[in-house]
């Protein structure tokens, strides 16, 4: 019913192409053509280097999708509250279809990022760098889309329904703040284990790195000699967070109320 219109809406969203792709591609460009120029990267480390950039950019890109989804849910809250009571669309069906479309959207967008990564590295280093485990990467794209969509939905509805949200801007950017915060931290610092595995962004980033070079990533991504992470814990963390966020999203969507906006003209 709404899988296709939702997917179309995400893929036609200008903010997604601006923040989710262009902004990220800019940083990828910097990583390949600027940051890599000051020192030579040994050829045997190039694939790992590409993997770290791919992972970071995927995280930032999907967190930008979370921003757009927040706005989308907020501005459609009156419509959703109406439809759940007056049409054959149930909250569960709405969630499952939009969740699936968010997942598929990020498979498409993530694949574009993956290709651009390969192209940039080919231009600079004449090696077309792609993930060793492409299927694994694609599954991660899908799961990332689900996680960030579920988080965006939960946050916006909680703040709108129960905390009287009037301004969507700060709430919508929480996903981007988290994405960039945890994303960059994992590059340069080793977080305490409970924080490292206790959030869903750092394990996702590690798994993206793993999908790229099929080696267990180190806890400090720029330091190949730092302690390797526990892959099983990372996978378990993602699994648990996916379930928690899905359940939270279903519960909040079921109880959605209209927002107090009188005008919501979007460009």
């Amino acid at each position: 019913m709404i899988f296709t219109p939702n997917l179309r809406s995400i893929l036609k969203s200008r903010p997604i192409w601006l923040w989710g792709i262009s902004f990220v591609v800019f940083w990828l460009f910097m990583g390949v053509f600027v940051f890599a120029s000051d020192y030579s990267i040994p050829k045997n480390m190039l694939h790992e280097y590409a993997g770290v950039w791919f992972a970071l950019d995927s995280i930032i890109s999907v967190s930008a999708i979370g921003v757009t989804m927040s706005y989308s849910i907020y501005f459609s809250s009156n419509s959703l509250a109406y439809l759940f009571r007056n049409s054959k669309m149930s909250p569960l069906r709405y969630y499952l279809e939009t969740m699936a479309s968010a997942g598929v959207a990020f498979v498409i967008l993530g694949s574009i990022l993956m290709l651009i990564t390969g192209i940039f590295f080919y231009i600079k280093f004449h090696i077309f760098e792609l993930p060793n485990l492409i299927a694994y990467s694609i599954v991660l794209f899908f799961i990332s889309g689900i996680i960030f969509y579920s988080m965006a939905a939960t946050l916006v509805i909680v703040f709108n329904n129960w905390l009287g949200l009037r301004n969507i801007n700060f709430i919508s950017f929480i996903s981007l703040f988290l994405g960039m915060g945890f994303g960059y931290t994992a590059l340069y610092s080793k977080l305490p284990s409970n924080i490292m595995y206790g959030n869903f962004i750092t394990p996702l980033e590690y798994l993206y790195v793993y999908s790229f070079d099929s080696k267990t990533p180190t806890s400090v991504l720029v330091n190949p000699y730092s302690e390797p992470i526990k892959l099983n814990l990372a996978i378990l963390s993602i699994f648990i967070w996916t379930i928690i966020l899905m359940l939270l999203a279903i519960f909040t969507i079921k109880n959605i109320k209209g927002s107090y906006i009188e005008e919501a003209r979007m460009t």
């Binding site: 019913m1 459609s76 759940f84 009571r85 009037r166 209209g258 107090y260 979007m266």
Partner: protein
Amino acid sequence: MIRVENLTVSKSRKKNQYILSNLSINFEDPKNVIIGPNGSGKTTLLKAILGIIKYNGEIKCYFEGKKCNFATNLDLVYRLYNDSVNNISKLYINMIGGDYNQFKNIIETFKMTRILDTKIYKLSTGETKIFGLAMAYSLNADYILIDEPTENLDPSRRELAERLIEQFVSKRYLLVTHDLKLLKKLRPNRFFIMISGKIYGGFDPSIFDRLFISREGKGNYIAEIQGGFSKYYLSLDSGDFPLSSFSSIEEILGGE
């Protein structure tokens, strides 16, 4: 029938300030009109019945033994995506049931086919009104909730809108307006007066021309209405001013 019991809607984040306070009313007849000034809570009542705002109390609607569903001209319920009017209307008709050809015919009657390819968020206020009316009339719903159907329309389209609403003769509706002339044209089963979150009636529209409004309660009055600062009394066949001499409720209240 739509049954409203002890409905309370508070203003956002403000304690002890209510738009509607312990409102109880039954809309037993199929066609009902509520007349009231701006800010009386008419639209809030419709939103509560639609289920899109938080409220305390109970609202029940049953038709032929099952729970009702509603269609409305309030455009804010049709903003699921920022997509074209054409795609949005087809999507909603698919989800709720309805007649897309009827929707398109209404848009063509208003000479507004240009809006079919326009994104919903880019419609002007008048275009949004027509879109809302067309959706309300085209969806399969047990009840139609109509909010100020002729506001923001130019005179020729206002007339078209009134004629369209007159075709609601086969539908069940609850229509809110401040336009007393529209009430006279529609001839519903019952009409109500709503002021400052309180509702009075339902009155038989056939007595509309016999109704008088007064500042003092002389003799037998059929309703005592609390305006902003003053009380008004509604009576039959005698009083200070005939209700039909006013074009809107705001005129009666004089800016209260």
